[in-house]
């Protein structure tokens, strides 16, 4: 039971967390953006690379945006699907605030 509580506490404190729907959530700032990947410096200081997919949804608030609207320094929350050890972005939400 103690181990379970410890695991839950660690999970809630990390910037890469597992959430419902089998998706992993990545929260941080865009360190680099290319046509195929986003590098994100997570809130706990680690670097996470998330692959992009033609079906990736891009959102800012409740509006749809495009990949070109995301820049280095933007705050992002990415919901990604783990596939063969890689993370593939299902949805990228971009914050109004800059780093």
């Amino acid at each position: 039971m103690k181990r379970l509580l410890l695991s839950l506490a660690l999970l809630s404190s990390t910037a890469i967390a597992f959430a419902h729907g089998g998706l992993t959530h990545v929260m941080g700032v865009v360190a680099a953006a290319s046509a195929t990947t986003l590098d994100v410096k997570t809130t706990d200081g680690k670097l996470a690379t998330v692959a992009l997919d033609p079906s990736t949804k891009w959102m800012k608030g409740t509006s749809s945006i495009t990949e070109g609207d995301v820049h280095t320094g933007d705050r992002v929350v990415i919901h990604a699907k783990p596939v063969n050890g890689k993370l593939i972005a299902v949805e990228v939400a971009v914050g109004a605030a800059k780093h």
Binding site: H20, G22, V77
Partner: protein, 197 residues
Amino acid sequence: MKLLFRLFLLVAVLVAGGAAAFIWYLRHAHAGVSARAQPTTVEASLATAMRSAATPAAVRNRTNPVPATAAALHEGMEHYADHCAVCHGNNGSGQTLLGAGMYPRPPDMRLPATQRKSDGELFGYIENGIRLSGMPAFGGAAGSTEDESWKLVVFLRHLPQLSAEEEQAMERLNPRSPMEMDEEKKEADFLKGSGTP
């Protein structure tokens, strides 16, 4: 009398042989009773045909008493997002974490195989469930009213035309655990600029 006995014996041998073959098939060709396998085409076709044949005509021939108004569609959508989407997905594709592990998998309800079914059949599946599948009965003791089930049928008919905006609106209606709600709040706050990036 002797002929009758022989006939009975033949039927008994055939039934026992069939049962043995079925058990052999389950054990050796179908990974036991694991739900990870996909039903074979023959099994899926047989099950679908039997399900349709077993649906009473009185149920199949019922027509939806709820007119397909915007209000009925919206209520059906809300109910679906809360009760059905966890297995069927908001868009009806069946591509969900729970759906991926079911035997049989939930169907893609946008496709003709589901859309061709009568309103009464869809209503019957919602109200009474489907035996030996993951589909529970929502009517009767489960508490859903017939009116709610008919509104779900209205929404099921809309699935092939579901827009991205509607799907997004449904995500806000999906059930969430307290931990998920807390995580969503943290993410929303982060995107608004609070906390250290």
